[in-house]
Structures are given as C-alpha cells and as structure tokens.
Amino acid sequence: MLARTAEYLFWTGRYLERAEDTARLLDVTYHRLLEAVPGHEHEAWLDVLRSVGLDDEYERTGRPVTPDAVSAFLVVDPTNQGSIRQCVTQARTNARGVRELLAVELWEALNSLHLDLQARDLVRDVRLQPHELYGFIRQGVQSVIGVADGTWVRDDAWRFFMLGLLLERAEMGVRSLRIRQSHHRDDDVHEWYATLRAASALGAYRRRYGTFEGEALVELLLLSTTLPRSVLFSLRGAEQILVHLVADERSLALRLLRRLRAELEFADPAELVGPDLEATLEVIEEQIRDVADAVAAESFLYRVDLDLHELHLVPGGPGE
C-alpha cells in the first residue's frame, strides 16, 4: 500500500487510542479526588498531565493546576494538539485522507464521534457532567475500534491502523504506571483503584489477587498475557501485526519489538518492583518509542526526499 496512507492509518490508530486513554485518566482522577483528602489535588492533576506527556506544554500556558483548567486543556483546548477533541479531529482528518480504504461503517462511526464532539459544549460538560462526558468519549472511541474489528478486512491498512493503536496503548500504559506507582501506598486503597480502573482492570485484579501489592499490580498491568490493556498484551498484538507488514526479516522495527516483548515475556515481577521500577519503566517507554520510530523509517519513507537508488537500501533502516 501507499507509504503515505500507511502513515495516515498508523496515526489514526494512535490518535484514537490517545483520546480514549486521556478520557480514562481524567475520569478516574476526577472521581478519585471527590473522596480524597484536600491537598492532594494539585499533585494528582499534575500527574495526569505527566501521564499523557503534556506537563511541559501545560506549564508553558501559565495556567493554574486546577481540575477545571487542566481538564479543559486536555479535553477541548484547540491549541493543545493532544487534547481529546484535537485527537479525534486529527484521527478523522487522517481517516478522511484514506477514506477509500475504510469500511463505510468505520468512517461513519468516526465521523459521528467527531461531529458529536464538535456539537457539544465541552467546556460546560467538563465542569457539570464529567463522568457522562468521559464515558461518552470512551464509548465513542470503542465503537470505532469495535466497528474496525468487526468489519475491516485484515489487510495492510487494518494492520497499520492497529499497530499505531497498540503501540500508543502500550506506551500510555507504561507511562501511566510509571507516574502512578509512587502513590501506591498500603494505606491508600483509592490510588490503587484509580490506577486499575484507568486500565479497566479493577475487577480482574480483585478476582485474581486478594490484597494490594506492587508486584501483583506490575504483573497485571505490565506483564499480563490476558488483560487486553496490559503492556505485554498490546506488544504481543503489535508483534503479530508487524510480522505480516515487514517484507524483510531483518527489519529493525520487528527486531526491537521482539526483543522488548521477549524481555517482558520472561520478566520476573518480583525483580521489577523495588526502587528501580520507575527507571525500568522509563526504559521500556523509550523502547516502545524506538519501535514506532523504526516503523516510520522503514514504512513511511515517502517523506524523505532520498535519491531513488537509496530507496532500495532499506536493511536496518536509518536507525542503525
């Protein structure tokens, strides 16, 4: 398929996933704080910004770290390319650029979500009915992904879309665990709830583990092979897709992804928890980004104005 359309699809998947993850984080943070001891708010909202990687951006706006201001920034702010509305608009714009490859229902689901978000008074909804709003966004994105799952022929177009989505999900999962893990004290069960809820994992956790402990949390959110939003689960899915996408067995992206996946596959949760956990998670985050960069270098080359003959010299790609 065309390199440019592959890239559009990859980013459509990423933007959609980012919109959903941001809505999940906002939802759990908001409700977690309703019952929290006053004083934690500032730090909690900063954490949300860090989890989506927009803390520096926010600081540059000079706005106060309050629930309304941060929420509005992350949901509706047109200057924030990572805001939910911008993510959905970007996903829709990218999808519009490759409409001929999308099932009609998929485009309609995405276009409807976009139009609904344009029509809603989001600034008001963030203040007055945040739970309904975040639920609406989550369901909207999930219905798009559900339609994709149920109707999209498993061609390269679908693979690039899912690859972007899964890599984004993995990266957001790692980062959010990294930011939140310091809050997981024995005496504050709400923090554990919030982390697990953001990954739709609270029920699974309760059924499998009795008490709240760091090892179990890492095992579930990072290393589970059955929880759909665990990091390893996402990376396994990404690997199965990438195998079909790369023609060259020596693909850098595939090698990096397989190595990372294998490291997690055979990791011992007991070794991971401890003072080095944050640094370890940061390394994993970087490794996921490296995979995405390698995919871009190997598959989206059209951007680079290379000499034609160089186009054939792909092995390893520019990353090596």
């Binding site: 390199a3 309609e108 059209y302």
Partner: protein, 533 residues
C-alpha cells in the same frame, strides 16, 4: 388529503413534470401517486433522515473563504442539498439524449486526436480556423505527439445540457478536463432509496452504481501496450483540501484502486512508480483530478507542488496514460464550442443530434455589432472560464457593468462569446410545505474507452433559492436524484404508435458564414446557468 401537485404554479416556464395546460406528464405519474400517499410529516422526516445520512457519511464539498470567520486556507465542509422530488427522464427521451451525447463526445475525441497527433486535418480542410485554436488558453503544445490509446482523450466527459422554453435539449457547455459530480449522482440515488423507498415502488429506474466498474473498465482499456490486460490504475488527487476531495475518494474506492497525491509518485527512466510500504510499484494509468497546469512542474507551472516531475515525458514515451488527456481545454473553450456541430459533420458525416445554445463569436465584425446592439438582452461569457466566473447577464446587469463588458469585448473580442438567454426549464421542488418550481440543468457523464457510453442518469442541479438562476453548489445550488426509466417492452409499442415526438431538435449554432438567420426575438427568460467543471 389534497394532492401535492394541486395549486402548483408554472408561472409561464417549461416544466419537467407538468404540461402547459396543468396536467401531469405521464412519466411523473407514479412519483406523484407515491407522493400523494405521504403527508408533510413523512416528507419532513425523510428530509431529516437525508440530512443526517449526508452529514454522517461526510458527503461534502469544501467552501473557501466563507464569511463565518473560518480561515480561507482551510475551507469548510458543506453538504450538497438534495431535493427529495426526483427528476424523471422517460426511456425515449433518454435514448435520444444518449445518442446525441455519444455522437458529440465521439466527435470531440476525434477532434482532439486530430489536433494533437493527427496533423490538424480539420484546420487544413478549413473547417476550424487555426488561429482560433492556437489562441485558446487550453491549447497545449506540450501535448503534441503524446499518444492516447484508442484516441479516448475525453475519457470522462461531463456535458452540461439544458432545456429551453420549448423543452428542447441543448448543450450549454462541454466539460472535458476534470468534470466532477458523479459521486453525487450515485450518493443521491443511495440516499433517496433509503429515505423514500416508496417512490421507487412502481418504476423501472435504471441503476447508476455501476459507474465505478464502468470507469475502471474504460481506464484499463487505455493502458499503455506494455502494461498488458490489467494495468495498474490510480486516481491522482490534489489532496484533502481540494473542494472535490470527497469525489476523489469515492472514485478510488468504487474502483478499488489507490488514491495518490503527487508526492506519492516518482518518475524514473520515464516510468511512473508509486511509493509503497514495500518499495516502488509501477503505475500504468493515471485518472488525474489535477489541472494540466499543475500536473508536471518540469513542463508546466514550476511552482506546482501537487504534480509529478517527469510525468509528461513518461506519457510521451508511452509508458503511462494520463486521463483525461492533457490539452483537452482547447475543446472546452467557449468559442471552440461553437464549432462542435461542424466537427460532428466533418468527422462523422452526420447532422448533430443535440444542438448548441445560439452563440455569437465576437471577433466577427458583423456578429459583434449585432451583439453590442443587444448587449442588455444577451449573456456574455469569457471563453476560458468555468463555474460561471466572469459571466454577465444582460437583463440583470447595471449600465456600468454593460459599459465595462462592452469595452472588454472591443479590446479583446477573441476572449468573449455572447449567447442567447435560455429560458431554463423548471422542476417541482419541496419548499417548506408545498411544491414550487425551480430552475434545473443536467450533467450526464460520458465515458470513452473501448466505446463511448453514457451512464444512465446524471447530475441534475437545482437553483434552490426562489427566483435564483445559479445552480453552483458554492452558491446555494442543490441537486436531485435523476431517474432514467428503462424501456418497458410491454408499452413500448403503444408509445411509438401514439406519442408525438417529445423532443424538438434545433441546431442553434452560429458560426461565421453559417446559419445566417437572426436570433429569435427575445421573449428571453432570465435564467442562465453557470456551471462548474
């Protein structure tokens, strides 16, 4: 419940559905009967469902520089409103139109091939003056010697047809470069069958959704010889910001081929490739929706970022076919248009089936004098513009505007033509709670591949605002589903036996030295259509 057509006013116009004495035309009877089963609420519901469907599906065009504060560069997406009452063309009228369109496009293909690879026999034989062709903006020396398999230079032609006060079909304009609108033809049909399926119940409406496969078939037939039986076809778009982007997507997906932008293509050793995730892949046929000027910065505008460097050289080498062919604009020229009936006589040895709108060529002193005397009754058009740009409608123009156009004609007579105003036919449209007549035109789409064929249907554009004359989508125009009825074998013989010919053929072309009659005295209606290409 009173019938929907009760109290419907003709106001003196030729109406598609109602005869001069107020009776319903036969081919509208079943639509009228089905409508009469529906009350206002049912139609209002259908309109809401239609709007929701178009919005959700994103069937839109982009408007630039709107007045609602949107930055002009980005443009905003609008839906193209479809009136619920379909236009119906009976089988006999269609077969007349079809033969006229096939004849016209066949002659235009022959003319363009003659011009660019055939040594301009038509000029040597004195039928069309050389200076006229050479002075046309659309005349493209770069296209000389560039072959087009089967001579199918107008692979897709959109011929704008209007009906005058007698109901005669006349060609208003030929669009031979990148005519758009076919996506609305197919989407309008899909929408109407969903929101008002009742209307279709007792009619034999010919389907239109085969357009994609017809187009693909035609494009595959014109592949370069080396590409064999299944050449790789792509659609080339200027990109997502183009006003017709929805249509480009539509065409690529209907054909199941890649939609590429200029930056997706590279030319090496006079062969065109597209950049894929697996490396370069050869491209054989390009259905381009980019104007000639932007196609290849090596040959045309060097500042074009939309095009593909080296594309023309690849076409000249016979390694890729560009459709529509480069240089077709010369036959779009409104002064050259006046010669199309002569082309038909010259190349085909036939009398034109479809006439032109009476046209005056202004470099001819006699015709110019005549036009300048009657400037306030005629329409003046710049020869190279589409979309109604630069159009001056005499009866509606101010004295200052008339003085200005008079000066322009005297300064550069080659650049303008004048035409009689056409009293465009009207068609019933749903306006709030009743039917009202609105002016319409019609753009059927003609494909040239192995043979020349017409999609049974077309885009009927409507000036939706009361009294408005402009059907352009950007100016409050709308559209209608257009039904071509299949011949009914059971009644066909009866029809032949009893009916008067429904179509009056007039060849109203005015070229120097031809057809010296004066124009019809102006019981001239004030309806003029601009059109988009």
């Amino acid at each position: 419940m009173p019938g929907w057509f009760e109290g419907y006013e003709l106001e003196g116009w030729f109406d598609e559905a109602v005869t001069a004495d107020g009776g319903l035309r036969d081919h509208y009877r079943s639509v009228a009967d089905a409508l009469d089963e529906l009350d206002l609420e049912a139609l209002a519901r259908a309109e809401r469902r239609r709007d929701a469907a178009f919005r959700t599906q994103g069937i839109t065009f982009t408007v630039y520089g709107d007045d609602d504060g949107t930055p002009a560069a980005g443009g905003i997406e609008r839906t193209f409103p479809m009136d619920l009452i379909p236009r119906v063309i009976p089988a006999d009228e269609w077969s007349f139109l079809e033969s006229g369109l096939v004849q016209r496009v066949t002659a235009l293909n022959r003319f363009l091939d003659d011009l660019y690879v055939g040594g301009m026999q038509i000029v040597k034989d004195g039928v069309v003056p050389r200076w006229l062709l050479i002075s046309s903006d659309g005349f493209t020396p770069e296209a000389f010697g560039v072959p087009v398999p089967l001579g199918a230079r107008c692979l897709v032609a959109g011929i704008d047809v209007v009906r005058d006060e007698h109901g005669s079909y006349r060609v208003l304009e030929d669009n031979l470069r990148c005519p758009s609108g076919i996506s609305y033809v197919v989407e309008n049909r899909a929408a109407l069958t969903r929101v008002l399926p009742q209307l279709f119940a007792s009619e034999r409406v010919q389907p239109v959704d085969q357009y994609g496969s017809m187009l693909l078939h035609a494009l595959q037939r014109v592949g370069p010889p080396a590409a064999g039986d299944s050449p790789t076809v792509v659609v080339l778009t200027p990109g997502i910001h183009n006003s017709a982007y929805f249509e480009h997507v539509f065409l690529a997906s209907q054909m199941g081929v890649e939609l590429v932008e200029g930056r997706d293509l590279v030319v090496e050793d006079h062969v065109v490739h597209m950049r894929t995730t697996q490396g370069l892949r050869r491209v054989d046929v390009i259905y381009r929706r980019i104007d000639d000027d932007y196609l290849d910065p090596v040959v045309f505008r060097p500042d074009s970022a939309l095009g593909v460097p080296g594309l023309m050289a690849a076409a000249r080498a016979g390694n890729v076919t560009i459709a529509n062919a480069v240089g077709n604009g010369v036959a779009d020229d409104k002064a050259v248009y006046a010669y199309v009936p002569e082309m038909i006589r010259y190349y085909l040895g036939e009398e034109p089936i479809l006439g032109n709108v009476p046209t005056y060529l202004l470099w001819d002193p006699e015709q110019r004098e005549l036009v300048l005397d009657r400037l306030d009754q005629l329409v003046v058009k710049p020869v190279a513009e589409a979309g109604g740009y630069g159009l001056v409608i005499g009866p509606h123009a101010t004295d200052a505007e008339l003085a200005e156009v008079r000066q322009q004609i005297q300064d550069d007579p080659r650049n303008y033509i004048a035409q009689e105003l056409v009293a465009l036919s009207r068609h019933p449209c749903l306006v709030e709670d009743h039917l009202e007549g609105r002016h319409v035109d019609f753009r059927p789409f003609v494909l040239s591949g192995q043979q020349v064929e017409v999609v049974p249907g077309g885009l009927t554009r409507v000036a939706l605002r009361r009294g408005s004359l402009v059907v352009n989508s950007s100016q409050g125009g709308g559209s209608k589903d257009t039904w071509v009825l299949a011949p009914d074998p059971a009644v066909e013989q009866d029809l032949d036996a009893e009916s008067e010919p429904t179509v009056v053929v007039t060849s109203g072309v005015r070229t120097p030295g031809l057809d010296a009659d004066g124009p019809d005295p102006a019981e001239v209606a004030d309806a003029v259509l601009g059109s988009t290409s």
